[in-house]
Symmetry: C2
Subunit: 701 residues, 2 copies
């Protein structure tokens, strides 16, 4: 699909524009890396001032470079880059990595230069990585266009980083750590190729089993959502997002010059696309490695095999706080353990074989745990004991794990005594942690991904009865307005099939009485005026009007009072509405995120929305399941589904309103915000109706 | 204060009972450790079967061991331990560490043996560590009674562990990690000496600057609370609690044979005593090391000095999520940075010197940050760059840090390129992290402890007007009851000065009318019956009775209906109460924890208590500040202090009720649970009154 990115990882030949024979230059380091890791393609240094570098013929210009060459790596001063790109284009090179800095990240002048580079690339149908990046790495083709010293081991993880520094630091750290890479790409300013492009490409790369990413900002959130949802059906994506707090976002924003999107949109998009979010760099690679080396667990039930209780308790805490359970072993397993192990051993889970446990005890207990039908995954813990050889325990675990169809994770607590064991487990592809707490987030992530992977695939669908032409006509009527009040918003929502409390606009007392008689008493009266947004604050709402007389009197009182209170307000009339039946009040909202588009919100209405922040978010378009999950992410979801003998609310009616509002937002980009507050929800089968609503448009201001 | 524990860490002479000359025995390893780390006192192996071991004269019996000997380390089969202890007592040895297992942890028989050991020790005024433990370590006296291979570096951290395995694993890990120990104690089954005893002793130990603890269970919670509050005024205590989840507690409970207390009580006690809780083993020692090596920050404002934006963003996220802020640098600092650094560098915080930053740039920027009056602590980040020497950066940082009065923490991201730098920083006593996220929890913990350390010291005080004799008399009246309903509970609470909604007991309709007339109409009527606990469930509450007629009618209706509905209930009459004024409903409760005693709860009343679990806990006795903090730990606290234009509630009245209920619980251990639900709180100055209440006693069942 994105086969045009192949030259960045597996080119037939690569030219290094700006290659230097001075070993203290980064460009020299790159050239050295290019020829040091087994890359079989052609490597051409380009530099008019040198004849040969590192034994390779040096070319004065890319135009002189012979075939094959399908990737140019450029590391020359920023102002010279456009010319070099032009030359690449003319030479027919369709992929370029610009390592050089001095572009968007340094200010408006650099941004202009970056734009020129992009235009040249587009003209020549050339794809760009960078500028201001660290390059790419492919452990299978041996390509290394970075100046990072050393490479990680070969494996199934491909790592995409929006920060070259994070990429470099990680690679420096991961060498010999048992974390295996397939490919790496540092994307810099993302003038052309973005994280989403590379993720899409890696999905098709047979060497990549797991995609890991460090991300500061996602510019095209809708595309990311679409692509990530597709990719995670095939391989896991684990992502570390910087700028999750305001302070972090500030640090990112000054770094990349791009506006970090609101945290809620990112969080929602990751949930909806099955992307696993890591909290730290360490987590990112621990989760990725477990997914790379181990099968997926088929459920949340974990067995712990240990030679000490304390670390098992810490592991149990960590498992429980990540949604996992200690498996209840079947009686056969317990019987076998009882027969074989030290009589004082604990044969319940955690299986505590006590300090004297020998390597063969580990092998036996782990094997039993793996064969237990109640166990979905295992964690084996060893604390160094004076008389037991950790290396032999590691060998036995590796032996048992060979034929296991369930995850085998280990924690060998310590360092000095377990170095050899670590090496044995590393070679066997078995994750080993120093402290037991890692098991929780690793297995939690594996289990969440396994569930995602198993779920039935449904595309978001469009609710029936949406009438975009009608909305377009209404909106054009209010082209100069910034805010649509309830009366106008009702027209818009009605055109998309959202249920509204029955009501009618009345411009005078007689129309109000007529409307009330049509709706049936008692009724509610609300002022309609473009200048009055907070109707209740000015006494613009009257409840429970029981007769024509009361309606007439309320109308004249309200008009007289508001005219004197707000002499400049256009009082267009009143809305007459039926009194709301009993039910739960919830809030449904939409905010348009600059990166992700419409972000939907659901929460409990009233003062508690703000007090408890009991709200959840999803990016539109939502599937039916997305909307349901959003509701159940809140405590309000529990309240609505029969908490403490309350009747179950009509969840389907809430879903319907959410989906309709989301499609309204998708169809009309000029709608910046929309809110139904409250949406009154009746018990199951009774529906839900909007009692008040408001829409913000981008025009006006 | 606990100078009787000194022999466990600094004995004049130590005897090893059960010393073996067989190198494959643990006891041989212990003897080797005793003589390998510079311990200057006498070491006496005791074993009737050997003449000498490892060149030391071996004694057949402790009674033959010459002076000086004030510590016995016992590692012989469990059944032989009592006799050995007797001998120690007779020999005048007043401190013994029982390494041997086979006691409480293996079942009732072992528990009986353990009890015998304790009795022998008590008889001889002997203190015991263990049994089933790993022993003690003192890096300053060189004493090592463990069989753990190797010891950590010397420093200011003393580590107390209820798990020998966790202790051993940690020591195995920490060697050469830049974490410095003063002492270590593994406590095993805690037959005699507990974690609290050792913490109390370590407070007086001049070599101990920081106390770290791994804890599974605290048996005497009240004593822990008292001691820990005292100790944390002098030195920090950082604690890792296992069994924080139900699964974790299960693992602990099967391990130590002791009942893990409810998590809420632990959490509350740690907050109230200024104990810093760590979430993982790694956190425990990262926090302890920073507190050991660095000064306390005077506030939450952190400056970041970095050569890359991505890691700074991750650090900023982590700082923000631990309550810290990025410092706003003063203009002088920014000016100096602007003049000195690369013109493209960012001179706002994070100070991003970009990839080319040289060692002298680091020195300059860090120095500027430390001198900035807006900065309370610093984090310096380095990502390996091809052309910069991390070791030289480390040297410069170490140089600047020497004269710093503010914390200097570092993150050198990577491993291969930063090994030498790590060693330089380790020797300089500067914490260095591999990934930027550690900074958040470390600085967060330092800042919390600094605040605790600075706060004015107040002892819990007893509210005036508590009448224990009166309560004793009331409780003796209900000696056979398990539950006291509202009518009886009102009497108890009233005797401790808790404000109640005005009300009176009435046994018949006439008394009810009289009471109503005295209180003033309208009134509330509630049935009084020991068999009816949920009054409203059976229609036992009538609101808003407006006249003598309505009261009379309601009384006869309620009695008739309840007699036929619940023929076996004793209907003692009704409570007539004034109608409640408007206000917020909160809940105040007390549950007696088996380890900690009375645990107080505060939360918002009504359905939201359960839905949002918006509750906080503190262990009695509480100070005024404890109670205030408890309220503000909940979202209800925000609601009560003027959220969204609500009037501020009478917080002092809530505090008063909490403190009175807590002293009631402290004075009467037979009260198992008590609850005021709701407590109606009026706006500030208006007081708070109990609208309903209930007390559970331990008697009856």
């Amino acid at each position: 699909m994105r086969s045009d990115l192949r030259p960045f990882f597996a080119p037939a030949g690569v030219a290094l524009i700006g290659a230097s024979d001075n070993p203290s230059k980064l460009s020299h380091g790159i050239l050295k890396n290019m020829i040091s890791y087994g890359y079989q393609g052609a490597v051409y240094p380009v530099n008019p001032k040198a004849k040969s570098i590192l034994g390779l013929t040096c070319y004065p210009d890319i135009r002189q470079v012979p075939d094959p060459v399908d990737l140019a790596v450029i590391i020359i001063p920023a102002p010279a880059v456009p010319e070099a790109l032009e030359a690449c284009g003319e030479r027919g090179v369709h992929a370029a990595i610009i390592i050089s800095g001095g572009f968007k990240e340094v200010g408006p002048e650099g941004a202009a230069l970056e734009k020129i580079c992009l235009e040249i690339a587009r003209k020549h149908h050339m794809r760009l990585i960078g500028p201001n990046c660290v390059g790419t790495l492919n452990l299978y083709t041996g390509l290394n266009t970075t100046f990072i010293q050393g490479v990680p081991a070969r494996g199934g993880i491909s790592f995409v980083s929006q920060s070259g520094a994070v990429g470099g630091g990680v690679i420096d750290y991961l060498r010999n750590k048992g974390v295996g890479f397939a490919a790496f790409a540092s994307l810099g300013n993302e003038a052309d190729i973005t994280e989403t492009d590379v993720i899409e490409y890696l999905a098709t790369d047979p060497d990549t089993r797991v995609i890991a990413a460090y991300v500061e900002s996602i510019r095209d959130g809708q595309r990311f959502l679409r692509i990530a949802r597709e990719v995670t059906r095939q391989k896991p994506i684990i992502l570390l997002k910087a700028g999750r707090t305001e302070a972090g976002a500030r640090a990112v924003s000054s770094h990349t010059g791009s506006l970090a999107g609101a945290n809620e949109a990112y969080r929602a998009a990751f949930i909806q696309s099955g992307v696993i979010e890591a909290n730290t760099v360490a987590e990112l690679f621990e989760i990725a490695t477990a997914l790379d080396t181990q099968p997926l667990p088929q459920g949340p039930r974990i067995a712990i095999v240990t030679n000490a209780g304390g670390p098992a308790a810490l592991a149990s805490d960590s498992l429980a706080s990540h949604g996992l359970k200690l498996a209840t072993l079947v009686e056969d397993t317990r019987q076998a353990l009882r027969t074989h192990l030290n009589p004082a051993a604990q044969v319940d889970n955690p299986i505590d074989m006590l300090g004297g446990a020998e390597p063969h005890d580990y092998a036996f207990a782990l094997n039993q745990a793996l064969q237990d039908p109640n166990v979905d995954a295992t964690l084996t813990i060893l604390v160094p004991q004076a008389l037991v050889d950790p290396a032999e325990v590691a060998r036995q675990i590796a032996q048992v794990a060979q034929s296991a169809a369930k995850p085998v994770l280990t924690c060998f607590m310590g360092e000095h005594s377990v170095g050899q064991a670590r090496e044995i487990l590393r070679r066997a592809g078995i994750p080993m942690y120093t402290f037991p707490e890692s098991a929780g987030y690793v297995l939690g992530a594996m289990q969440r991904y396994a569930k995602w992977h198993q779920r039935t695939w449904v595309e978001p669908t469009r609710p029936e009865g949406c009438q975009p032409e009608k909305v377009a006509a209404i909106l054009s009527q209010f082209a100069s307005r910034r805010v649509l009040g309830e009366a106008e918003s009702r027209l818009v929502l009605d055109a998309y099939g959202v249920s509204l409390i029955p009501g009618a606009l009345a411009r005078n007392a007689e129309e109000a009485v007529e409307a009330a008689e049509r709706l049936g008493f008692p009724v509610v009266m609300k002022v309609v005026s473009p200048q009055i947004l907070h109707k209740s604050d000015v006494g613009g709402i009257r409840l429970n009007l029981k007769s024509p007389g009361e309606v007439r009197e309320a109308f004249s009182e309200m008009m007289t009072r508001l005219q004197s209170l707000l002499p400049h307000a256009d009082l267009e009339g009143v809305l007459i509405e039926a009194m709301a039946p009993a039910g739960h009040e919830v809030i449904i909202g939409m905010r348009r995120d600059p990166n992700f588009g419409p972000v939907m919100m659901f929460g409990l209405g009233g003062i508690y929305v703000e007090l408890f922040r009991d709200v959840a978010f999803r990016v539109a378009p939502l599937t039916h399941d997305d909307a349901l999950e959003m509701i159940f992410e809140t405590r309000a979801g529990r309240l609505l589904s029969g908490f403490r003998n309350q009747p179950t609310a009509d969840l389907e009616a809430i879903l319907d309103a959410i989906l309709r509002l989301s499609h309204l937002a998708l169809d009309f980009p000029e709608i910046q915000e929309a809110e139904i507050n409250p949406l009154l929800v009746r018990p199951k089968g009774g529906g839900a109706v909007a009692l008040d609503c408001r829409i913000l448009l981008e025009n006006g201001m």
